[in-house]
């Protein structure tokens, strides 16, 4: 089995800090004092396999389309 590594990229030119992604990925993201998401790894966040679906939801529901998933 080859291991696929999914990462999620936060596009800060688009992010408006609406907080949907933080609700859907509480294991990976918190909000800073201004409401913007913070995760370990800055704007390139490694997604463990069990959170792939949640990450897909977060990307699809982001109101500003600021999240992109890379495999």
């Amino acid at each position: 089995m080859t291991e696929r590594k999914v990462t999620m990229h936060i596009d800060w030119t688009r992010c408006d800090g609406r907080g949907l992604c933080v609700e859907l990925l509480p294991e990976l993201l918190t909000r800073d004092d201004w409401g913007y998401p913070v995760g370990r790894g800055g704007s390139e966040i490694a997604i463990p396999q069990n959170l792939e679906y949640a990450a897909q939801d977060a990307a699809a529901l982001c109101p500003t389309q600021a999240l992109r998933l890379h495999k």
């Binding site: 688009r14 408006d16 800090g17 609406r18 907080g19 949907l20 609700e23 859907l24 004092d33 201004w34 409401g35 939801d57 977060a58 699809a60 529901l61 109101p63 500003t64 389309q65």
Partner: protein
């Protein structure tokens, strides 16, 4: 000519229209609530977005039942062209035309909303703002065209809807509408 069937069509046509107005009102409230970025109506933010989408799709479903049942109804004298081109109606063309406009806008808004991630947030938003025209037009259509449109019970319902949406729009225009607006503003000062 089956008069019981005609009666039923007419009742379904009016009833579905009233339900559609209520659902459209809820949809606007949920849309504005979602835009605030806050966890409104006791739901997390992502749920507000999803419920907004589903209520909107249900409102379109009821509008479709509304126009199809009245199309089949012999009294309403609807023609296919009245679905798409306003003010050509055989009966109360002005008020019917408002319904046509609202229907067309609803279709366009729904299609672009479902394609949001493909057309991009700018295009989506530009089209989505048509809802602020569509909602009042649909309410005027209901009052002007409806058999029950000027009866007290409907007017009370309409006043409730107008107050709810009016209040939500006032909140939308308030400077502290968006969550974190306070801290973000202080920081850039």
């Amino acid at each position: 000519m089956n008069s019981v069937f005609d009666q039923a069509l007419w009742a379904v046509g009016r009833g579905s229209g009233v339900v559609a107005i209520v659902l459209l009102t809820l949809s606007v409230l949920l849309g504005i609530g979602g835009r605030s970025g806050r966890a409104v109506f006791g739901m997390p933010r992502f749920a507000v977005t999803l419920v907004h989408r589903n209520v909107s799709l249900f409102s379109l479903l009821f509008v479709v039942v509304h126009v199809v049942s009245l199309f089949l109804d012999p009294f309403a004298q609807l023609r296919l062209v009245d679905f798409f081109i306003p003010f050509l109606g055989a009966f109360k063309p002005f008020w019917l035309g408002l319904g046509t406009i609202a229907f067309d806008l609803l279709v366009v808004v729904t299609i672009t909303a479902l394609l949001r991630n493909r057309i991009g947030p700018r295009m989506f938003k530009a089209v989505h703002w048509l809802v602020y025209a569509m909602w009042p037009v649909s309410v005027l259509h209901a009052i002007g065209n409806g058999t029950n449109g000027r009866e007290p019970w409907f007017l009370v319902l309409a006043v409730f809807c107008v107050m709810a949406v009016g209040g939500a729009i006032a909140w939308r225009l308030h400077e502290d509408f968006v969550e974190y607006r306070n801290v973000r503003r202080q920081e850039t000062r």
